[in-house]
């Protein structure tokens, strides 16, 4: 029996192809937007979590307040701070880094990018590499005794930032000082990082006239210690040293987990706003279905009269129209899901090309797919309630006379 209430509406939907497609567009744009946003959001969240867990949970990042890795803040950390951090109980190792925006000159061309001053101590250097998730791919890293030597990001060895590949052993001017290129990093994935450079902290202090100014400090805790407890102790020590009250700190201590959470919160907020906007598209789509159904009731007034004359109860007419509008929602949802996932996959592909594989991986969430199909069917049904009620209440005699 129920199948009959699907057969007739399907024929009606197919009868007026153009109108049906126009109606479907309203729904599938909204659904596609929502699906791609949710899918991409989940993918990004996973990716961020993975990136941060790759850092290791035993790392603490100490930054001047208000800045991001030393940028945009007048405050800087000092070697005294580094000493305090190193002495905090539970800290295995800590290293300070300088971080600045620098002028790179090579082949008579100028490029601006980030530069980091890092320790040449092997252990500290290893900690930086681990915390920054980079590895030297070609040449070698900076080591004790190096001064005006530079390790460059991946893109320098690939792209023509300076219209010419940089080779190992080439000379490059940083802030007008000559540096020897000794190595290239493996690809990290974000263009600013891949275009950056790393120089010994000593050279950094000299070039940027930043003696005793650290952009940030990385600390590694002992395996047995809770990084959050260590962070608390560290915060107290630094506060006391800076003679500040709780809440007035001029520095910040962050753990990878906090980073991940902070990113997660921002991502969620962005997603909520975008999905809110997409929902408006869906609402408009629903109104489109309602409009189509009102038109359909008018156009089929005579057929409604015929059906009533040959024995259709009001409910039968109601079901036929509700199923029809529900099907608009359902098919709109189906197309929207395909397009939405397709779009997310395209973005994934773009990431693979730009950044490399395994950064953003899009997974199809079948619960989301099924939920969306049910949801879009219900939107269709809901949009069809008013027109279907009107159809079901038509008087057979007047409807039969309708031309």
């Amino acid at each position: 029996m129920i199948i009959d209430y699907f057969k007739i509406p399907v024929k009606e939907i197919r009868r007026r192809k153009l109108r049906s497609w126009l109606t479907l567009i309203g729904i599938f744009i909204g659904i596609a937007a929502i699906i791609s946003l949710i899918t991409l959001g989940q993918g990004l969240e996973n990716a961020i979590e993975q990136q941060f867990s790759a850092l290791g949970k035993d790392k603490l990042f100490i930054l001047p307040k208000g800045g991001f890795f030393g940028m945009g803040s007048s405050e800087q950390l000092t070697s005294d701070d580094l000493e305090i951090i190193q002495k905090t109980s539970g800290v295995k190792l800590a290293t300070g880094m300088g971080y600045a925006f620098a002028r790179y000159e090579f082949n008579d061309l100028v490029h601006y990018g980030f530069i980091s001053g890092i320790s040449t101590d092997p252990e500290e250097r290893a900690l930086v590499g681990e915390a920054q998730t980079w590895k030297v791919g070609e040449g070698r890293n900076v080591r004790k005794g190096d001064k005006f030597k530079i390790v460059l990001g991946y893109e320098h060895s690939q792209n023509n930032i300076f219209e010419k590949r940089v080779e190992l052993g080439d000379k490059m001017l940083i802030q007008d000082r000559e540096f020897n290129v000794i190595g290239f990093l493996e690809k990290i994935g974000s263009p600013p990082d891949d275009q950056a450079g790393f120089i010994p902290l000593e050279a950094y202090e000299e070039v940027f006239n930043a003696k005793d100014e650290l952009g940030f400090i990385i600390a590694q805790t002992h395996a047995g210690d809770d990084p959050l407890v260590v962070a608390e102790d560290m915060e107290k020590e630094l506060r006391d040293d800076h003679r500040l009250d709780e809440g007035d700190e001029d520095f910040e201590i962050q753990t990878p987990e906090q980073f991940a959470e902070a990113f997660g919160v921002v991502l969620d907020m962005v997603q909520i706003v975008l999905i809110g906007i997409a929902s408006i598209a869906l609402l408009v789509g629903g109104i489109g279905i309602m409009n189509t159904m009102y038109t359909a009731v008018l156009q089929r007034t005579r057929e409604i009269g015929i059906m009533k004359a040959i024995g259709a109860r009001n409910e039968h007419i109601l079901y036929l129209f509700l199923v029809e509008s529900g099907l608009y929602g359902f098919f709109g949802g189906l197309i929207g899901i395909v397009l939405g996932i397709g779009f997310a996959k395209l973005v994934e592909l773009a990431f693979v090309i730009a950044v490399g594989p395994a950064f953003l991986s899009i997974k199809i969430d079948w619960m989301l797919v099924i939920g969306t199909l049910i949801f879009s069917f219900l939107i269709g049904v809901l949009s069809g309630v008013a027109p279907a009620r009107r159809a079901s209440k038509l008087n057979p005699v007047d409807s039969l006379r309708y031309e």
Partner: protein, 236 residues
């Protein structure tokens, strides 16, 4: 005519009044009519006589402004709109001048449509519909849509549809009005056969006095009143 008569449709003092703003128009003025089981009744009258309104009342498509209509002894005013529709679908088969087939459905689907509303099983309804389409010589056209059929063929589909719930009554409203004389003759032959062989009650509403010859009872309608009831022989 010694057989005991049994009324299937009975109209008692039926008035139908239409209101257009402040003007009211009495289209039917106190109609009293009994239609007995197995009768071939022709309701005839010129245009404007209230024929269409009469057919809507006899076919219980509409309720009267005043008066009572009984369908198989049930006062239709006691039924809900939906219950009346279902009873109508089971008891009366309609054949209209305009054929009134659903354009998106095939001949077979059109014929099965009334059974869907009576909750007949899929198997049973297909068997019935196919048998009926073969009976009206459309066995080869079952999967054609109405616009792929001639007027005469469409009207035969409509006859098959009218019969699918095996109703006691066939109500035909100008069934030959849109047909050429040959197709019209064919349709009348079917109706006549349904009366004589299947003992259906046939009610024919027309302005065509030619068709009066089929009737056992002719009801002459004029200005919303029955002016004469004539008993005929029901022959061709």
């Amino acid at each position: 005519m010694t057989k005991k008569t049994q009324p299937v449709i009975e109209l008692k003092k039926v008035w139908k009044t239409y209101y257009m703003g402040k003007v009211s128009l009495d289209v039917l003025k106190g109609i009293n009519l009994v239609i007995n089981k197995g009768e071939f009744v022709v309701i005839v009258g010129p245009s404007g006589s209230g024929k269409s309104t009469m057919m809507n009342q006899v076919g219980v498509l509409d309720v009267p402004t005043s008066g009572t209509i009984y369908l198989n002894d049930i006062d239709i005013s006691t039924l809900s709109e939906s219950d009346l529709a279902q009873l109508r679908g089971k008891t009366i088969g309609f054949v209209f001048q305009q054929f009134n087939l659903i354009p998106t459905l095939t001949a077979l689907e059109n014929v099965t449509l009334p059974t869907i509303f009576q909750n007949v099983s899929e198997k049973e309804r297909l068997e019935k519909a196919e048998a009926l389409l073969r009976m009206v010589d459309l066995g080869e056209r079952m999967n054609h849509k109405p616009n792929e059929l001639s007027g005469g063929q469409q009207q035969r589909v409509a006859i098959a549809r009218a019969l699918v719930n095996d109703p006691e009554i066939i109500l035909a409203d100008e069934p030959t009005g849109n047909l050429d004389s040959k197709s019209g003759q064919q349709v009348m032959d079917f109706l006549s056969k349904l009366h004589s062989q299947k003992h259906k009650t046939i009610i024919l509403v027309t302005h065509d006095l030619e068709l009066v010859r089929y009737a056992q009872k002719v009801v002459f309608l004029k200005d919303g009143e029955i002016v004469r009831i004539k008993h005929g022989h029901g022959k061709k």
